[in-house]
């Protein structure tokens, strides 16, 4: 047998074909860190307690200002949020505070900037869901997001940029076709994934913010898939051509990168996007809806099944027995 880290699956398989006793299986789960031991719990609680505490307290603050207490003077409201921002920043720059807590405090300050804009909008009636609210929020936290090196804060920054662009296309750029907005979102999310991927190349595998890279990559793939499907059924020619070109370059590069880095994630998600696009191409020219639905369902089953066959083959070829969990 080849070298392979002990996983839950291995313990299940051994137990299935032996008379291994339950108590010993339980010990194996603990010994091989499949169940969290006291050390893992200590690390987890060190992250969970402050993270949850700050998130819940921030939600409380946001709910408080959403209540729009009429009796409270506007300067008190603004002063309270600004005071909370100042306190968070003080924690973030205090030298003796651990790095994780500094990052959590900076993330809290970034959320509170949004609350400050919302309270300002509430007092002076500037519009709470206008694109410029999100744009202002994005601009004022941009430096913190960039210097933090903290993936949850990057996610907040990316979500703000996405929301600003989307609302701009809805509320201001009335002449934009839906494809234009989705093409821009594709470029933004691809850039985010690429920048963080390059930045993380030198980091240890365990320290890479893989979840952030994959979230932005999925956002980019979904955006370009929607844009291309809209282009297939829509009438905006130039934007359609742009969507196809972006898709060809972006998805093609992503696929090549997936093969280069032996990443099943990139290959499977990009391939599924291509399957959806082909479904749209099948539906478009056929005028018989009954036949179309039947063909599409057969195509979906066939293409997904062959894709999974191929992925399993690649996975075995690349990783052998050392599968990622």
């Amino acid at each position: 047998m080849e070298k392979r880290k002990i996983t839950r699956e291995i313990i299940h398989i051994i137990s299935r074909h032996s008379n291994w006793q339950a108590a010993e299986v339980e010990s194996a789960f603990k010994e091989h860190s499949i169940y969290a031991g006291s050390r893992q719990w200590a690390g987890f609680l060190n992250l969970l307690l402050p993270g949850l505490g700050v998130s819940l307290a921030l939600s409380g603050i946001i709910f408080f200002f959403a209540y729009n207490w009429a009796a409270m003077h506007k300067f008190v409201k603004l002063g309270m949020v600004e005071g909370a921002i100042a306190l968070s920043i003080a924690v973030a720059v205090w030298p003796r505070v651990p790095a994780l807590i500094k990052n959590i405090a900076l993330a809290a300050a970034s959320v509170l900037v949004g609350a400050l804009f919302a309270v300002f909008g509430q007092i002076y009636q500037t519009g709470a869901d206008a694109y410029d609210f999100f744009l202002g929020w994005t601009m004022f936290v941009a430096i913190w997001v960039l210097v933090s090196g903290f993936a949850p804060l990057w996610l907040l920054g990316l979500a703000l940029v996405n929301t600003s662009v989307f609302l701009y296309s809805e509320q201001v750029a009335e002449n934009w076709s839906p494809q234009t907005a989705y093409n821009i979102l594709f470029i933004i999310n691809t850039l985010a994934a690429v920048i963080v991927e390059i930045r993380s190349l030198k980091a240890d595998a365990g320290k890479r913010p893989q979840w952030f890279i994959q979230t932005s990559a999925i956002a980019a793939i979904v955006a370009i898939t929607i844009s291309i499907v809209f282009s297939i059924f829509g009438s905006a020619v130039m934007e359609g051509v742009a969507a196809f070109l972006l898709g060809l370059i972006g998805l093609g590069t992503g696929m090549a990168y997936g093969f280069k880095t032996k990443s099943i994630f990139y290959i499977s998600s990009i391939s599924f996007s291509v399957i959806v696009i082909i479904c749209a191409l099948i539906i478009k020219p056929i005028h018989d809806p009954i036949g179309t639905f039947f063909i599409v369902s057969i195509f979906l089953i066939g293409s997904t099944t062959s894709l999974i066959f191929k992925l399993i083959k690649l996975s075995k070829q690349w990783h052998g027995s050392n599968q990622p969990d």
């Binding site: 392979r4 074909h17 169940y35 709910f63």
Partner: protein, 360 residues
């Protein structure tokens, strides 16, 4: 010679501990380990087969609707039974993940067709017949299958049928019953994993599908509570779910204090005090404490995917609390802020102890 492979080493250790009483079918273990490489340990492949199966089912049902096949109840029931039977049979005959997409499509399309056919048949009789039939089908599926995906689908059909009794009978006050049932099921499956997988090879094969199915069903129950609580006040007895969550959370704390060997009575009392404060502050929002319970269980039992889902669910539950009409935003803001402070206070208090354990 010493074993260099971790799996061989593990088997050697088990043999040493078990002595002559230990018996192992090494060839079967080797074959299954080879087969398992890169299959269900790979999340993108799982997601791909589910997404492909789901879209194919939607498209196929669209075809049936347009071809007017859905209008014949006898045809629907017959086709539904054939589809479900074929899915179960093919799952037994060919055990390969690549065929999951077709099995999911067959099973889901079969269940939808059978449900439509049955709804037309039972229109003038007892409406509870359909969910009862589906419970039977799901139990039969579990009895005759042992693949992860079929078991998962069967558990979801089972829990969906149990939940459907509530709207069918307009018994909204009983909503906590299926939620607590799923929660207890998940707790038992997590805490008794070793006993279940060593009970018999069949139970061992069923375990993963059952655990994931109960996790998703309990999460779906909490989601239903979170979505409906702000406008459907008929679900008024949901505090019973809070009682269940509270007992489970306290049970967890009891386990920690045992694992951490906290013997200092002041620390013990304060741990329970912080826990009770959080439980009290979220008592009327059972989905918040339920979300935390899911997160803690997923972490403790090393279920990484479930942990990711639990984090997203927890954030969603907090956002749903915003729409709870039973108290003002001011009260809700106080509850959330207070709960946050409880966590921060607990962290500040236990920081040194946690740091010491973390560094061991």
């Amino acid at each position: 010679m010493e074993a260099t492979n971790p799996t061989d080493q593990l088997i050697e250790d088990i043999q040493k501990a078990g002595g002559n009483n230990f018996s192992l079918d090494a060839d079967r273990v080797k074959v299954e380990l080879e087969e398992s490489y890169g299959v269900y340990s790979n999340l993108p492949i799982k997601v791909l087969s589910i997404l492909g199966g789901f879209l194919a089912t939607l498209s196929f049902i669209g075809f049936l609707a347009l071809a007017r096949v859905l209008e014949s109840e006898t045809g629907m029931i017959l086709l539904g039974v054939i589809f479900i039977g074929s899915a179960v049979a093919s799952g037994r005959l060919v055990r390969h993940i690549a065929l999951d997409t077709s099995m999911i499509t067959l099973y889901m399309a079969g269940c939808i067709m059978l449900a439509i056919g049955m709804s037309k048949y039972t229109e003038h009789y007892n409406h509870n017949l359909s969910p009862m039939l589906f419970i039977l089908i799901s139990l039969l599926t579990i009895a005759f299958s042992d693949g992860f995906m079929m078991i998962l689908l069967a558990v979801l059909v089972f829990s969906g049928s149990i939940f459907s009794f509530i709207p069918i009978n307009s018994a909204y006050g009983l909503m906590p019953v299926p939620i607590i049932f799923m929660g207890i099921g998940l707790l038992l499956l997590n805490f008794y994993e070793s006993q279940i997988i060593t009970f018999s090879p069949k139970m061992n094969r069923l375990y993963k599908g059952l655990q994931t199915g109960f996790f998703l069903s309990f999460a779906a129950g909490l989601l239903t509570a979170a979505q409906n609580i702000h406008y459907d006040l008929r679900l008024g007895h949901l505090y019973t779910v809070s009682i269940f969550n509270s007992i489970a959370l306290l049970g967890f704390v009891f386990k920690f204090t045992g694992d951490f060997k906290i013997e200092n009575k002041v620390y013990l009392l304060l741990t329970y005090f912080f826990c009770l404060l959080f439980i009290a502050s979220t008592f009327f929002a059972p989905f918040v404490s339920g979300g935390l319970l899911l997160l803690l269980m997923a972490y403790h039992f090393g279920q990484k995917t479930e942990m990711g889902i639990s984090i997203i669910l927890f954030a969603y539950f907090i956002s749903q609390f915003y729409y709870d009409l039973r108290c003002t935003l001011l009260v809700k803001s106080g509850i959330l802020f207070f709960s946050g402070m409880v966590f921060i206070a607990a962290w500040l208090f236990f920081y040194r102890q946690l740091k010491q354990h973390d560094e061991i």
